[in-house]
């Protein structure tokens, strides 16, 4: 079976060259335009999610004065906030946005393997978002069953949006999964088949490894959500009893019998836990590259980083029931899942060590992306360590379903990935737009976001220790929750409002710089990986001009002893730059050698 030479694709690429505005920016099949489209839709939903969170934070902080949030809306807001942020914002922006943008560029391809399917993917994603948003406008409003959508309450009278809201949510998720599958197949096949000449798997930047493994995880994990959503739709619409046991709704027995709510939870978390890593792994990859470039040092222990990504990906499929320690499932499962969960801490910790060791003996440039990357390491250490509390099954007994859980997962998969997101946007913005942003504004944005987020979530852990339950519209009167807890809640709300509003700085900077930013250098940070070596900035359609690049080295040749510059781009051949074969190269002792 002959491999289709890449050169043949060039002719094809010519045919797909867009001609009109609509073809270029709307029905585009260019991975970069699709990436921007994916990103824009994801950011739009993210803003909706953010605004919802500020509204219910107002209720929690200032229940007396917040009239616009009633209990019904509160539950709808927390539900939609959760689902939007996890699925429609973070998953979509990392894989749909960065995945689309980076995969062909970093692999040295002209585009995705199946550009048409790629375009369909973004339109299906938009459709899923429209369906999701439509639930705000139907009778009963969006579902308020919690983002975990646990039956039987999703379909019962006492839950907001139990009629149309939940149906739209499930349909929207199914459409999203279709979109994700089309996009995911593209990333996987492109990474496997469309790397340019010389780009071996181990020469790929960690960003690609992160995206690759996350996509594989997603393709295996999302089916579980699809299966659960289909069965729940059947229960809701057709009256089957997959998940619905015999229950009483407002005094009347419903016509269901024998279903298992816990089965749904197993399916949901079989998707839900890998989902954490679907968000985290691309973030791990992106931040590794940012750290390496700005520390002027190769990522420390590249091989270990790759293995850790693969190990975390694999392990993430056998830890799901740690979300269910107190769900009423067979309690003996706790032994197994606590053990696997704590094992996953080892590769994760190694990644953290290697990020920090990348800084060790580096020549750290404190550029804007580096602020966010280091901020990420700090919040990720914090969020990772609190995970050890919840993963250890007995400690989960007092802490599950309290503010501690909220604080933990926001630190580890809210704040941390979002800091990476900003690091990545500030890092690649010059390449994507050809402009430079305002650094001062970006730094102000960093300080407000980083310190503000820590001010929100650090105290929240302590409310959790106290035992303040999550998903409470109001704390009401209890003997063990003092007034000071309510005051702390108010302080957290103020911090959240500051962080929320300060994101405007980001948008002002990013959008304003498109017009007023000064022209950016094609490779302002001196990065070695392939996406910075394109002939045009921003890269043109087809990415590489007449000839595809050839790769001679890995993506991390920084500060190589004896080299002319402190980085050697991947497409620079050995003839042009010396080779280092000794892995423990001592610059002082071996300098003369290298100079030869």
């Amino acid at each position: 079976m002959a491999y289709v030479p890449l050169a043949d694709r060039d002719a094809e690429m010519e045919m797909h060259h867009p001609h009109s505005f609509i073809e270029k920016y709307v029905w585009s099949q260019d991975h970069k335009v699709i990436a921007i489209q994916y990103g824009s839709v994801a950011v739009f939903t993210g803003i909706v999610g953010l605004v919802l969170s500020l509204m219910f934070r107002m209720q929690l902080g200032f229940p007396e004065t917040t009239d616009f949030v009633d209990p019904n809306f509160y539950y709808q807001a927390v539900t939609m906030h959760g689902m939007i942020m996890v699925v429609y914002f973070l998953t979509a922006i990392f894989l749909g946005g960065f995945g689309n943008y980076m995969v062909p560029l970093m692999c040295g391809a002209r585009d995705m393997v199946f550009p048409f399917m790629n375009m369909l993917s973004v339109w299906f994603f938009l459709l899923s978002v429209i369906i999701l948003m439509a639930s705000f406008f139907v009778g009963g409003g969006p579902t308020g069953a919690g983002w975990t959508l646990y039956p039987p309450q999703t379909a019962m009278e006492g839950t907001p949006g139990h009629d149309m809201g939940i149906i739209l949510m499930l349909v929207s998720l199914a459409v999203f999964i279709v979109a994700f599958t089309m996009g995911g197949l593209n990333y996987v096949v492109t990474i496997l088949q469309y790397r340019c000449r010389g780009m071996t798997l181990m020469r790929m930047p960690l960003t690609i490894w992160g995206i690759f493994v996350a996509t594989v995880l997603g393709l295996f994990a999302f089916p579980a959500l699809l299966v659960a959503a289909i069965m729940m739709l059947f229960d809701t619409l057709l009256g089957t009893s997959f998940f619905m046991p015999a229950v009483i709704e407002a005094g009347t027995a419903l016509d269901h019998n024998g279903g298992s709510p816990i089965l749904f939870q197993h399916l949901f978390w079989f998707f839900g836990h890998p989902e954490v890593y679907i968000v985290a792994l691309p973030a791990f990859g992106l931040v590794s590259d940012v750290l390496s470039v700005h520390a002027r040092k190769n990522i420390f222990g590249y091989r270990m980083m790759v293995w850790a990504i693969i190990a975390i990906g694999g392990l993430s499929f056998i830890v799901w029931a740690h979300h269910m320690y107190v769900s009423g499932m067979n309690p003996y499962f706790g032994f197994f899942f606590a053990t696997t969960t704590l094992i996953i801490a080892v590769p994760t910790a190694l990644k953290v060590y290697n990020w920090v060791l990348t800084l060790w003996e580096g020549d750290i440039r404190m550029n804007v992306p580096m602020y966010f990357a280091i901020g990420f390491i700090f919040t990720f250490i914090h969020g990772g360590l609190t995970g050890l509390f919840l993963g250890n099954v007995v400690i989960d007994l007092p802490l599950s379903d309290t503010y501690f859980v909220i604080a933990h997962f926001h630190m580890v998969m809210g704040v941390s990935p979002i800091l990476v997101l900003y690091a990545a946007i500030y890092h690649w913005y010059p390449k994507m737009s050809g402009r430079m942003y305002n650094e001062t504004l970006a730094k102000v944005h960093f300080w407000l976001t980083f310190l503000g987020a820590y001010a929100i979530y650090l105290p929240m852990h302590y409310l959790g220790f106290l035992g303040v339950p999550r998903r409470y519209y109001a704390l009401g009167t209890t003997d063990f929750i003092p007034q000071s807890a309510q005051d702390l809640n108010a302080a957290i709300t103020i911090a959240a409002l500051i962080v929320g509003v300060s994101q405007i700085l980001f948008f002002v900077n990013i959008i304003g710089s498109l017009k007023w930013g000064k022209k950016a250098d094609p490779n302002p940070w001196g990065a070695a990986s392939l996406e910075w070596q394109t002939p045009d900035t921003p890269p043109a359609h087809g990415n590489w001009g007449a000839e595809l690049p050839t790769v001679y080295r890995w993506a991390y040749d920084y500060s190589v002893p004896g080299a002319h510059q402190d980085f050697i781009p991947q497409n620079v051949s050995e003839a042009e730059e010396p080779t280092v074969s000794d892995e423990h190269f001592d610059p002082d002792k071996d300098q003369s050698l290298a100079d030869v």
Partner: protein, 451 residues
């Protein structure tokens, strides 16, 4: 540079916050100090890693900041260092996990001598059942659930006859007696949590889950629901009182058995009618109500609700400070000296011909519908008929002006906060769904359309 200092300061601030925080675990009231110990171990391990990693990072950021003429060291990897760190991490993980698994092994195997009791969760209240003299709980199923048998105890099961039924959210347990709680739900997932006991578990419809503990401290503790169970999740409250054995026995003896709740004589309507004569002066011969006398319509209201409110007036849970109209009822309710009399009157009132009360309140019906549909219908039902299941009285066709007063009382804290009013606090919370007098009127106007 700045960032290095800030990271350092954040570590220091975190440590200070940790030790200065007034928000900390509640004083433990059950013999689960092993859980607290596991938490302490985890704090030491994770605390060390947190401080070490971040200080090292801050040091790197400061020490290796960009300098003129300085160049980064080229070192792709250091296998020994990575292996060492892996082993070090693994040891830390084992140090946390091993004790955790031992404690979990104790948790999953309740002791032989643990006394059983049942917790029943339903939207949005707690009820409890004790096994009675035979020590065995009767079987139960949702198919048997009714107003008079909220637990769904199987009437044919002899073991269930002597079960003690606690049909309110306040339960008691004897101190120093290990107990195993059997958890059941009638509708959705709930979670039985007492912060001071440290343990919690979901209630799952269709199966029985469990947890166990050994209460060590006498006192009263809050029971909270910690699994989202619908719009009333945050008002699903109860309390557990740890008593001395004598106090507990005395309390338990006062609670009815299942057999007693089933064999209660049918209410005597004639006796009720006779007693109603005193009520008729204000509430009218047919319970139609009289706004001039501040007497709401009673006819058509559900009997269990009237019974409960009469008892509230008797014990002063209603008609206290700020409720001048209610205060008039205290004396009248006091005339019904026995529980039987209260039940007879309630049954008689409930049997009176139900003609809708005249409408006196106007408002924006659409807005009223919006608020009602979103927040009230979950308990009071779409048609405003109310149901015993959610402890929600009938609203449709009742006196609208009375609705307005009572909602205002709930909002002002005049009604619902008395310790004997087990379900009033739910309305205090839910009444906030109506932001002001206008919105209360809007809802009243909407309810007026439901007749």
């Amino acid at each position: 540079m700045t960032l290095a200092v800030v990271i350092f300061l954040l570590v220091v601030a975190t440590i200070i916050f940790h030790f200065a925080s007034p928000w900390w675990f509640t004083d433990i009231a059950a013999d689960w100090s092993t859980i607290d110990l596991t938490i302490s171990i985890t704090f030491w391990v994770t605390g060390f890693v947190f401080i070490a990693c971040n200080l090292f990072m801050a040091y790197c950021v400061w020490k290796f900041r960009q300098k003129e003429g300085h160049k980064a060291v080229y070192e792709p990897e250091n296998h020994k260092l990575e292996a060492g760190l892996s082993i070090f991490t693994t040891i830390g993980v084992i140090a946390m996990l091993a004790p955790g698994l031992f404690v979990w092994a104790t948790f999953v195997t309740p002791p032989e001598n643990a006394a059983e009791y049942e917790v029943l969760g339903q939207q949005w209240q707690w009820q409890f059942r004790y096994p009675g003299a035979d020590g065995i709980l009767g079987t139960a199923d949702t198919e048997f659930v009714s107003e008079s048998n909220p637990f769904g105890v199987n009437p044919a099961d002899p073991n269930g006859r002597d079960d003690v039924i606690v049909n309110d959210p306040d339960m008691h347990l004897p101190v120093n007696q290990p107990v195993k709680a059997l958890l059941r739900s009638n509708d959705v997932l709930h979670n039985y949590t007492v912060a001071q006991f440290r343990v919690k578990m979901d209630l799952v419809p269709g199966l029985t889950s469990y947890l166990w503990f050994d209460p060590t401290e006498v006192g009263t503790y809050d029971i909270l629901c910690e699994e989202l169970c619908g719009i009333g999740h945050f008002i699903m409250r109860g309390s557990v009182t740890i008593d001395t054995q004598e106090d507990f026995d005395a309390w338990l003896a006062n609670q009815p058995t299942f057999a007693e709740t089933q064999s209660m004589a049918a209410p005597n309507l004639a006796a009720g009618q006779a007693q109603y004569a005193a009520c008729a002066a204000c509430h009218g011969q047919n319970g139609e109500g009289n706004q001039a006398l501040n007497a709401p319509k009673l006819a058509g209201q559900q009997a269990w609700y009237i019974e409960r409110q009469l008892n509230h007036f008797k014990v002063g849970a209603r008609g206290g400070e700020g409720d001048t109209n209610g205060a008039q009822m205290v004396a009248f309710a006091g005339m019904l000296t026995t529980d039987e009399a209260v039940r007879n009157v309630a049954a008689y009132i409930s049997s009176l011909p139900d003609t809708p009360a005249p409408t006196t309140v106007t408002g924006d019906i659409d807005n009223g519908y919006d608020i009602y549909d979103r927040n009230c219908a979950a308990c009071h039902l779409d048609d405003g008929a109310g149901t015993w299941y959610t402890d929600a009285p009938k609203l449709s066709g009742m006196s609208d002006w009375y609705f307005v007063t009572q909602i205002s009382n709930f909002r002002a804290g005049i009604r619902g906060l008395h310790s004997e009013d087990d379900y009033g606090e739910q309305m205090v919370a839910m009444a906030t769904a109506m932001a002001d007098a206008q919105e209360i009127a809007d809802v009243a106007a909407y309810i007026n359309t439901l007749r």
